[in-house]
């Protein structure tokens, strides 16, 4: 299996503080599905930021889609970022745009035609149960609905790598399961998925690789739970 992401001896520190992530060695194969667990403040979001190219490591090597992240020319970064779908912990929806426009955003910046955008976004919003809220603004939606909008925006461009930071944090178990099934569907289509969550009960219901981030290092807990 070709690696979509590979980390070798990666460490991160902010300015002159202590290393919050150290000696990270792992890879995400094409079409793999991983859960990343860990207590609050363990560094899950920092690891996510490294993966969606919002942060650079202070040591070690990161390869993403076969490219050394440090050596990727700046003008090529947008094209690589378009292959990565991100569900942010705080959703980051744009309040003055409708649900439809929020979800359509990755397609708009990629220059997709209007007709195609209309078709894809409408279908996806129906699928995540927001067909009746296409023209609603995020402030009019519940926390769970906003989360689904954020997920829809992350997956609308059929990313090769999907990163989700606590995507089930604000929804009940039924919706959480439904969202995770959506991620599984995407995974079956070849998308590599990494989900950061502290809901270990939910993780146990799926048979995917589980990593625990503790003390700044990564541990495989798939078999130990």
């Amino acid at each position: 299996m070709t690696d979509v992401v590979s980390f070798r001896n990666v460490g991160v520190r902010y300015e002159s503080g202590p290393e919050i992530l150290r000696d990270l060695n792992f890879s995400l194969g094409r079409g793999s599905f991983h859960f990343l667990t860990g207590a609050s403040g363990a560094g899950k979001s920092t690891l996510m930021r490294l993966l969606y190219l919002a942060l650079r490591q202070t040591r070690g090597e990161i390869s993403i889609f076969g490219r050394d992240n440090i050596r990727i020319p700046r003008e090529e970064l947008p094209a690589i970022r378009r292959k990565i779908g991100v569900v942010f912990q705080d959703f980051r929806l744009i309040n003055h745009l409708t649900t439809f426009e929020n979800v359509a955003l990755p397609l708009r910046v990629a220059g997709v035609e209007d007709l195609q955008i209309r078709k894809n976004v409408t279908e996806l919003l129906e699928w995540v149960g927001l067909g009746d809220h296409i023209n609603a603004q995020p402030s009019r939606l519940s926390g769970g609905q906003q989360q689904r909008v954020a997920i829809a925006r992350a997956v609308i461009g059929r990313p090769a790598l999907l990163l989700a930071d606590e995507p089930t944090g604000n929804v009940d178990d039924r919706i959480a399961m439904r969202l995770l099934y959506l991620f599984e569907e995407l995974n079956k289509l070849g998308t590599t998925v990494l989900i950061a969550t502290h809901n270990r009960q939910l993780v146990k219901r799926f048979g995917h690789t589980q990593w625990l981030l503790e003390g700044g290092t990564l541990h495989d807990t798939t078999n130990t739970g």
Partner: protein, 300 residues
């Protein structure tokens, strides 16, 4: 210029720069327009004054040596000198016209101070010869020739006045030109600050657009178009304030007897004034785009 922008992904219309920028640009453009109109009017007026003064010279022939003679003898001697000067000087190159100010004209000019004609004819009044120079005229040649014909004659070329007027006019024109540059620079600085404040207000959305793969140019163009539109409307308001005020000042000037400077009414000057909002908007758009690109470049 795209003043009707497509829907923006940045809520730029709602931030404080949407109110601040047009106001500051309106104020700056009003001051800019006053300065440009003032500069043009001054330039035009100075040109007219210089033209009027430079267009004539006068030779004064004083009766200094003839004070002891009788009025008739004095006037005859003076007339002889005047005729000799006119004959000699008219042969010099660059003399368009040479003419003595007639005794009647002199008497009429002096009457308010010296009384009626009879008194003036008794007094030793200097004679005045007026010269209108043209291309090829040489002041030095005239001065040399005059020194030979009538050493007592005084040549008045208004040179000191022209130099003084030119000095003052140049200083004022320079000051106005500097003011125009400073005002334009200040307008563009406000655009930079408004853009930076917009960047700071919308930092999270910009970061989001950046992370979902928007090119820097895509984000920068949204700021550029937004600021271009705001600057255009601000400049239009500034112009609409400045023009009626300038016209009012011109009208008050006309009532006080000042001539309307012809340059201000020329098509090229009107085109320059009309172009101000477009130029300001264009420069504001470019400035905002470049500012955003510079800031984005610092992001990973």
């Amino acid at each position: 210029m795209a003043f009707r922008a497509p829907p923006s992904h940045l809520p730029l219309e709602s931030d404080s720069s949407a109110r601040f920028l047009p106001s500051i640009v309106a104020l700056m453009v009003a001051l800019l327009t006053f300065s440009i109109v003032g500069l043009a009017a001054l330039h035009d007026s100075v040109g007219q004054w210089s033209g009027q003064i430079e267009g004539s010279l006068s030779i004064q022939v004083p009766p200094t040596e003839l004070a002891n003679r009788s009025p008739i003898e004095r006037e005859e001697a003076l007339q002889k000198t005047v005729d000799a000067i006119i004959d000699e000087v008219s042969t010099l190159p660059g003399i368009a016209r040479i003419e003595e100010l007639s005794p009647d004209t002199m008497a009429a000019l002096l009457e308010p101070w010296l009384g009626p004609d009879e008194v003036i004819s008794e007094l030793p009044i200097p004679r005045i010869i007026e010269i209108t120079p043209e291309t090829g005229f040489s002041y030095d040649a005239l001065e040399t020739r005059l020194g030979v014909i009538a050493p007592e004659a005084v040549l008045d070329d208004h040179r000191i006045w022209i130099e003084r007027i030119a000095d003052v006019a140049f200083s004022v024109e320079l000051a106005l030109a500097l003011l125009i540059i400073v005002l334009f620079g200040a307008t563009m600085l406000s655009v930079v600050f408004a853009t930076r404040s917009g960047l700071s207000i919308h930092h999270r959305i910009i970061e989001l657009l950046h992370l979902i793969g928007a090119q820097d140019g895509y984000i920068a163009r949204q700021f550029g178009r937004h600021n271009q539109r705001l600057a255009f409307f601000g400049a239009l308001i500034g112009l609409l304030i400045a023009l009626p005020v300038s016209a009012l000042i011109g009208w008050l000037g006309m009532r006080a007897g000042w001539p309307i400077p012809s340059l201000v009414l020329s098509p090229s000057f009107i085109a320059l004034i009309v172009a101000i909002p477009f130029v300001v908007a264009m420069v504001a758009g470019i400035t905002a785009t470049r500012t955003v690109l510079r800031v984005l470049h610092r992001m990973l």
